[in-house]
């Protein structure tokens, strides 16, 4: 009597996985526990073991199909047995890409790194494997720095996906992934280079789409006189010892943002569909651009109560780790409000996309010397920086946002209050 092989649940919040390949053939004799398939979940490639021994009678799906947890994916029994009548080949349990609740793209996993030996076995220490599983890091994408390319704990912990952002509960995107495969047929030819979208990049894209589609953004821009802040910064850095960390303008804005958020706790409140969640700690996420074109947000925790010196020191450490690809899990988790600074590119002003479920994000441009009108109505040269706050209108309204950004401006224009 043929036994069913049911798609097991292989990890937390997994409801389906992409079948990459069968590792045995129909007709093969297998033992209980033998690996029969490789599937790709949201996080990594996983092996599926057969719960019974016997002869493989049939497989129900072709590689490329999505296997739902609990679906019958094959039958194992005695040699020569016929497969029980199943509900039609790639039937009921597989999902098609046109359905309205996709979470994965039918993309193949990124190629494995040097850590495999001739047998295709991934070289990773037991500890590295465990941490990778706990952190949801795809081991096959981590490069190993140990002997013979072995992946060790530091490699897993320092792993940053190609285009990373803090992981957030993903909400279903209606109309298909990335707006649906509705751009028509893929172009072909020698001037075209088609590349697969990695799962993590896809996830980020999905979050950005969600944010743009579902968060009712509005924006408030403020011009801030940075003369005093720049002057204070100079004075503070003049007494920093040679091996100390200098305070940057961004560090000051991080502190100012945190203090402002403390005065306006509504901006530290997150929207969860039918509930508001107020965060008591103010953790400022800081967008960091990476060399390979990626983007990662490091998080300055409790920025409202830390001194400028501490903030400067921590931020420097985290940003360096981010750029070196050695970011720690605590560096990139827990942000409650975010800042993005394009001042280093001399940008005048820009508008950022809110990071759901956060309520606001502050976009900061460069402090530039421009003609200004002084108090006695005269023309002079002054330093002005534009900051735009993007706000989720479900959490904050225009008046509040106006007050918020005015408070921020006042702080930065009386920078002694940041100390």
């Amino acid at each position: 009597m043929a036994k069913e092989i049911v798609m097991p649940n292989l990890g937390m919040d997994m409801d389906e996985a992409l079948l990459i390949t069968w590792t045995k053939n129909v007709g093969d004799t297998i033992s209980q526990g033998d690996v029969i398939a490789e599937v790709e979940t949201d996080k990594t490639t996983v092996e599926v073991e057969s719960p019974v021994g016997g002869t493989i009678i049939a497989f129900q799906y072709e590689p490329g199909a999505n296997l739902k947890v609990g679906a019958v994916i094959g039958y194992v029994g005695d040699a020569g047995e016929a497969a029980p009548a199943a509900g039609g080949g790639n039937g009921a349990a597989a999902t098609s890409s046109a359905q309205s609740t996709p979470v994965q793209a039918p993309a193949t996993p990124a190629p494995a790194t040097v850590a495999t030996d001739d047998g295709g076995r991934l070289k990773a220490s037991p500890l590295a494997r465990r941490i990778a599983e706990d952190m949801g890091v795809p081991l096959g994408q981590v490069s190993g720095s140990g002997p013979q390319g072995r992946i060790t704990r530091r490699d897993v912990e320092g792993y940053t996906p190609p285009a990373a952002a803090p992981v957030v509960a993903s909400s279903p995107v209606t109309g298909g992934f990335f707006g649906g495969a509705s751009y028509g047929k893929l172009p072909e030819g020698s001037d075209i280079e088609v590349s697969e979208i990695s799962k993590l990049r896809a996830r980020i894209g999905e979050r950005m789409v969600t944010s743009k589609q579902q968060v009712p953004h509005f924006y408030v821009t403020m011009e801030i006189n940075m003369d005093d802040a720049v002057r204070l910064r100079k004075a503070l850095n003049a007494v920093v010892p040679d091996n100390g960390v200098r305070i940057s303008v961004n560090d000051m804005i991080v502190k100012a943002l945190a203090l402002t958020t403390r005065a306006f706790p509504n901006f530290n409140t997150h929207f969860y569909g039918d509930r508001f969640v107020l965060h008591r700690r103010i953790n400022v996420g800081i967008a960091v651009a990476l060399d390979n074109g990626g983007l990662i947000n490091v998080v300055c925790k409790d920025a409202d109560i830390k001194s400028l010196g501490s903030i400067a020191m921590e931020n420097k450490g985290m940003i360096q780790r981010a750029r070196d690809g050695k970011v720690k899990p605590e560096d990139v988790s827990g942000s409650t409000i975010t800042i993005s600074n394009l001042g280093m590119y001399d940008v005048d002003n820009f508008i950022a996309i809110v990071n759901p479920p956060e309520a606001a994000i502050l976009a900061v441009g460069a402090a530039r010397q421009i003609p200004v009108v002084t108090e006695n109505g005269e023309l002079a040269v002054g330093s002005r920086m534009k900051a735009t706050i993007s706000v989720d209108h479900r959490v904050g309204n225009g008046a509040e946002a106006g007050e918020f950004i005015k408070y921020l401006k006042d702080l930065l224009e009386s920078p002694m209050r940041l100390l």
Partner: protein, 328 residues
């Protein structure tokens, strides 16, 4: 509590005196312990102080020494017997393993064997192949026998007292090279005891767990001090007892550092490092971030020529090399 600096051989001597004063059933026996003042001077002046009855010079017969001590212990005394070096204990292997270690079990508790068999171990001073063994692991192989092996004067002091007061048979191994080593002991605390089967963290660290006993600890500490300059932080654990073996202290450290090196003066095959490696990978597999390395003597009879004798023995450099390898 006041402390005083003392050589390990003197600390052992003091421990013996205090225990002999405390309990008149305790007596000393072995070759040259009396008139000759003790081969390693641990029983210096004992004969004068305690008399012939409690300080017994024996014939050159290790079987007799061991066998007599077992009998005396079974009869209610608390002998501290001595075999001049552990190399000669091989001659008494049957008495030590089949009697000393097993009488309590085989007589279903009707007899205990509360004896201590003191032996001097290792060497490294051109004593050559037959007189330079550090084979405690062979004795620790057998259930029923405690095996103590201190690395310093303080532990030696407390462990010898504990061993004498314990009702179980103890093989007490004293490393010859460590007899002159100095550390501090409590100045006036004759009840200073080191608990049976408990190791000790001799140096705290975060990057790698270095486990050793006896001379292994000295090499490990020397290596750790040098490695600190390279930014490597070693946690050095002194096992102190080979049986009962304190795996818990090793596990706690390994769960923190995920890397381990075991250092001992003993030969490589089937040694303490082998046991600890096996247990670590068995119980803490998912905590391993690198293979576990062992530093031991080379797998050769110890040579006579000084230069190659030193090559065949472990040293701090070899420990440093092993630590660097597990950190790669």
């Amino acid at each position: 509590m006041a402390e005083k600096n003392i050589q390990m051989r003197e600390a052992l001597r003091q421990a013996l005196i205090e225990e002999m004063l405390r309990d008149e059933r305790v007596f000393v026996m072995g070759q040259e312990v009396g008139e000759w003042q003790g081969t390693h001077k641990v029983t210096r002046e004992f004969a004068d102080r305690f008399g012939e009855r409690r300080v017994r010079d024996t014939p050159i017969s290790e079987m007799a020494i061991a066998g007599t001590a077992v009998g005396a212990a079974m009869a209610g005394l608390r002998p501290v017997a001595e075999i001049m070096t552990i190399n000669f204990a091989f001659v008494a292997f049957d008495a030590i393993i089949n009697h000393m270690a097993k009488v309590h079990y085989m007589f279903n508790g009707q007899f205990t064997v509360p004896m201590v068999m003191r032996v001097a171990s290792g060497w490294g001073d051109q004593a050559t192949a037959t007189h330079s063994h550090t084979p405690e692991v062979i004795f620790a192989h057998f259930p029923g026998l405690y095996v103590a092996m201190p690395s310093n004067a303080r532990d030696a002091y407390g462990m010898l007292k504990t061993s004498i007061r314990d009702d179980n048979p103890v093989l007490f191994s004293e490393t010859i090279a460590l007899y002159p080593s100095v550390s501090s002991i409590p100045d006036n605390n004759p009840d200073y005891l080191v608990p049976v089967g408990k190791g000790d963290i001799k140096r705290s660290g975060d990057h790698v767990t270095v486990v050793g006993y006896a001379r292994g600890v000295a090499w490990a500490l020397e290596a750790a001090k040098e490695l600190e300059k390279e930014g490597i932080s070693c946690e050095v654990i002194d096992l102190r007892w080979l049986r009962p073996l304190d795996l818990e202290i090793v596990y706690r450290s390994f769960m923190k550092t995920n890397r381990c090196v075991i250092v001992e003066e003993a030969l490589p095959m089937f040694n303490v490092g082998a046991e600890i490696s096996a247990k670590l990978q068995e119980d803490l597999f998912d905590y391993m971030d690198a293979p576990i390395k062992r530093v031991s003597a080379m797998d050769v009879p110890l040579p006579y020529a000084r230069e190659i004798e030193l090559m065949a023995l472990p040293n701090a450099q070899k420990v440093m090399q092993a630590v660097r390898e597990v950190l790669r």
